[in-house]
């Protein structure tokens, strides 16, 4: 299996230390375009698409392996193996923050640092002690809404893009592929993401980690970011004042600054 093609691996940068960027649910590696270039001078960057997202090879999707996000962590380990990456700075957004944690627990010797953007070890509420932000009915509602919008009728999830857009440098092909994903896989990825509970593994992580948390995040509430920070032994928490779940897109400068400030 050609891992590079399977995950649409893209490499850039002049530095020596590898930096691996993992996108979250709903999008693909292009979401790093406001942040990643800032590290090209100091690091060797690798960007990839999860199976079923962007321009990955959807035929590599395995119903059993990818039914849980552990399977996505296996994918990350295979990428690390294939590229022979060591001393990695891993940057993961949303569900990929937890995917990075799982991969770092599997091969801790490969990881130098983890940047966890909007992480959540568990999206469901477990009263009274844990407030993940979602009830089981919300997850059903999410699947319904996804089905209604694209997964149900188009067999391929592609954005409805109108007008010329703000990125003339993108080719038409790239535009078409942006945030496109396989409907069947995306639906199952949503289930794997939002029904997972990995709270118990956090204390086992020994790799130094940075939790990047937006102050008003409807998907990973601030209390969840603080929970992650409390349960990872060697971790720092940086708060970005604002609204949203994707600071690397809505607040790219603050995001870059926070990461650079934390990296040695």
């Amino acid at each position: 299996m050609d891992i590079a093609r399977r995950h649409n691996l893209q490499q850039s940068g002049q530095g020596r230390q590898p930096m691996l960027f993992a996108h979250g649910f709903g999008c693909d590696q292009q979401m790093w375009r406001f942040v990643a270039p800032a590290f090209e001078a100091t690091h060797r960057l690798t960007l990839f698409d999860h199976i079923g997202c962007g321009r990955s090879d959807a035929s590599a999707y395995d119903d059993v392996r990818h039914a849980r996000i552990e399977g996505y962590a296996d994918d990350v380990c295979e990428i690390i193996d294939t590229l022979d990456l060591h001393d990695i700075v891993f940057v993961g957004h949303s569900v990929s923050a937890m995917i990075g944690v799982l991969a770092a627990l599997r091969v801790p010797e490969r990881f130098a640092r983890l940047v966890l953007i909007g992480p959540s070890p568990c999206y469901l509420n477990h009263p009274p002690d844990y407030h993940g932000g979602f009830e089981p009915a919300d997850i059903d509602g999410l699947l319904d809404l996804m089905d209604n919008n694209f997964l149900g009728w188009a067999n391929y999830l592609a954005p409805v893009v109108m007008g010329p857009g703000h990125a003339p440098e993108l080719t038409e092909e790239l535009k078409r592929s942006f945030c496109a994903s396989d409907a069947y896989i995306t639906r199952r990825f949503a289930r794997a993401t939002f029904l997972a509970d990995h709270r118990a593994v956090l204390p086992r992580l020994k790799v130094p980690s940075l939790v990047l948390q937006v102050s008003e995040d409807a998907i990973a509430p601030r209390a969840v970011g603080e929970y992650v920070h409390r349960h990872i032994t060697d971790s720092a928490l940086t708060l970005i004042d604002g609204v949203g779940h994707c600071p690397h897109m809505s607040h790219p400068q603050q995001t870059i600054a926070a990461i650079q400030a934390w990296l040695p």
Binding site: C27, G141, L142, Y156, L170, C179, Y184, A218, G242, S250
Partner: protein, 651 residues
């Protein structure tokens, strides 16, 4: 500046959202949709106006999209109204520079959907039904150029063909390419036929089914059943609606069932054939055994010792053949008809003691010692006493027969827990090799004993095992070459009082007495009418009955003659064969009994078919005995003597 000037009266919600994601302006319609004054919305994060599920898609999908492309539209979201309602809306947004600064903001329009919502829900329900049903629904379309593609396939296309719906939509070959070439060609011909020639009105209703072989790389071969109904299009186009179901399991089960049935039928036919052949053997055997016995009787004509020995050889060969015939008949009866068992609590000690006693003469002759029986007095098995006796007789007889001179046979019964009893028959014979043990229960396989000179049929163990199984037990063997063999019969243990003891072996009908059971009657004439159509049997019966001078034998070859003769001269005893040319023996007897003079004549059934069925019927119909062909001369004479004595006693 109010960007919303002029939107106040619009029936859709409009808002301006700043780069930080907060509402800067909102129109009255948005306020109504959210159940609060528009002014109260200002400075709230826009995603706080959305239901949780909608907020996830807004943040993880729509915002990244807007960041890179500037505009999105026609995306369904769900709002979170202050009054608890969850209105569905279509979301449109475009990134615009805000007039009062250099920051980008965005204009948002949300259009309520109500009727369409219901339609969409219904469509979604249908879609999910199609996706979750066990089979693939499809719409197959042929273009004017003749290219086929699946315009719609349900999700099962992944499970059945390992391809995505998208691939099937691009080119039907993604699916059809996985068919066996012959089946693919047949399907193509079918698709071509339903388009060409026939008037559209005719082929519209012509639904068809094709059974297709599928060979996916890396997957087991499968059978798919495709059902489709065509609809005509113009310019050679066509549309087929249908579904594909995986028929592999169903076909496999059907094939297995058919195979099983045919194997059963073959086995039944074989055992019926064996039964008939065996039965046919009995008639000639009747002559061989009967006449050789007659000729070797002490009072027979003088024979040279050599002739006497030759006759004994004939008699011995006849006896072996009869044994074989009986075994085959028993085995085929066990195979073909459910044997009636009378299971009850059987006290083992007396039964085992009796079985040992029966084998004693054989053991003495073979120079084999029978060890003292070991069995607890209270031990009981749930079994058919008669059948268990048969099982023990067979195993004990084998243990003696295949033993060595000076050897030993030990019979033992022990309780196995509270549920089972185990009866073991151990011998000190040569034992069995593993190869022999593997073939122990093969019919007619004597495991080499056929070269030993010991008589046997190779059926005894098969019958024994069948009987044990019928009684709900199991038979086992532990043996090593040179260390003897130990058969074990495990049966359900019976508890409770032995007062419910088995009914004594049913033997209402006499088989014939033991030789010299009664004195040879003499004196008065004793009329016997023998109805038999086979000449050999007739001649033998004549020869046997000639040994009783008082008997006056009349013969009849069919039922009509027999009745006429009996009426003319009522017999003291009627011997009747079962199969007569013009009636069966039972019918003849019923007819005779309608005549007062014949109503009380004792009747003996003389037949080669002496299964339990005939025996029971004869008993029901008041027959006094049942003589099985081939006849044993001594037994027949003894039985006749007791019948004559009874007749004399009656006067």
């Amino acid at each position: 500046m109010n960007r919303l000037a002029g939107t106040i009266e619009l029936p859709c919600g409009v808002a301006v959202v700043d780069e930080g994601g907060r509402v800067r302006q909102a129109n009255a319609a948005l306020g109504r949709l959210l159940g609060q004054p528009a002014a109260d919305l200002v400075s709230l994060p826009f995603d706080s106006l959305l239901a949780p599920a909608a907020a996830v898609l807004y943040q993880s999908y729509l915002l990244p999209l807007l960041r890179l492309h500037g505009e999105v539209g026609e995306f369904e979201l769900v709002l979170k109204s202050a009054d608890g309602a969850r209105p569905s809306v279509l979301f449109y947004a475009a990134v615009r520079p805000l007039a009062d600064g250099c920051d980008d903001g965005m204009d948002v329009v949300v259009v309520p959907v109500r009727e369409r919502r219901r339609v969409a829900d219904e469509l979604l329900r249908v879609k999910r039904a199609a996706d979750l049903a066990p089979g693939m629904m499809f719409q197959l379309v042929r273009s004017p150029q003749g290219q086929l593609r699946f315009a719609y396939v349900s999700q099962a296309v992944r499970a059945l063909y390992g391809v995505s719906a998208e691939a099937a939509a691009a080119d039907a070959q993604a699916v059809l390419g996985q068919l066996h070439p012959e089946d693919a060609a047949r399907l193509q011909a079918r698709l071509a036929a339903s388009g060409a020639g026939a008037p559209a009105a005719e082929w519209a209703n012509e639904a068809w089914t094709e059974l297709l072989r599928v060979q996916r790389p890396g997957a087991a071969p499968a059978w798919h059943e495709m059902h489709a109904a065509p609809q005509p299009g113009r310019d050679g186009t066509g549309v087929w609606h249908g579904f594909v179901a995986d028929a592999t399991l169903r076909l496999q089960l059907a094939a297995e069932r058919a195979e099983h049935q045919s194997a059963e039928a073959q086995a039944r036919a074989r055992s019926e054939l064996l039964a008939r052949i065996s039965h046919e053997f009995r008639t000639p055997l009747n002559a061989i055994i009967g006449f050789s016995q007659l000729l070797t009787r002490p009072d027979a004509d003088a024979l040279s010792p050599r002739q006497r020995q030759q006759l004994q050889t004939i008699a011995g060969a006849g006896a072996s053949l009869l044994h074989l015939v009986n075994d085959v008949l028993e085995l085929s009866a066990l195979d073909s008809t459910p044997t009636e068992l009378h299971c009850s609590a059987v006290p083992l000690r007396p039964l085992l003691a009796q079985a040992l006693a029966l084998v004693e003469p054989q053991a003495v002759e073979a120079g084999v010692t029978l060890a003292p029986l070991q069995c607890d007095d209270a031990l009981q098995a749930l079994a058919d006493a008669q059948r268990l006796g048969q099982v023990l007789a067979n195993l004990l007889s084998n243990a003696v027969k295949y033993n060595v001179r000076g050897g030993q046979v030990a019979l033992q019964a022990t309780a196995h827990g509270a549920e089972q009893v185990c009866i073991t028959i151990a011998d000190s014979g040569p034992g069995f090799t593993p190869e022999q043990q593997a073939r122990l229960y093969e019919p007619f396989n004597r495991l080499g004993a056929e070269r030993s000179g010991r008589p046997g049929t190779g059926l005894g163990l098969v019958i024994t095992r069948n009987l044990v199984k019928l009684m709900g037990g199991a038979i086992g063997l532990h043996s090593e070459v040179g260390r003897g063999a130990c058969f074990s019969v495990t049966l359900p243990q019976a508890t409770g009082s032995a007062g419910l003891a088995p009914s004594p072996p049913r033997q209402a009908l006499a088989d014939g007495g033991s030789p010299a059971a009664a004195e040879v009657p003499s004196g008065r004439d004793f009329d016997v009418l023998y109805v038999e159509d086979d000449e050999v049997n007739t001649v033998l019966m004549q020869a046997i009955l000639a040994l009783r001078p008082a008997v006056r034998l009349q013969l009849a070859a069919d039922a009509t003659t027999a009745l006429a003769q009996a009426l003319r001269r009522p017999p003291a005893l009627l011997l009747v064969d079962l199969h007569l040319p013009d009636a069966d023996g039972f019918t003849l007897v019923q007819r005779m009994r309608t005549h007062a003079v014949l109503a009380r004549v004792p009747v003996v059934l003389v037949s080669a078919a002496t299964g339990a069925g005939e025996r029971e019927r004869a008993e029901r119909e008041g027959f006094v005995a049942c003589w099985a062909k081939p006849l044993d001369v001594a037994q027949t004479l003894a039985a006749l003597d007791s019948l004559m004595a009874a007749a004399t006693a009656r006067g």
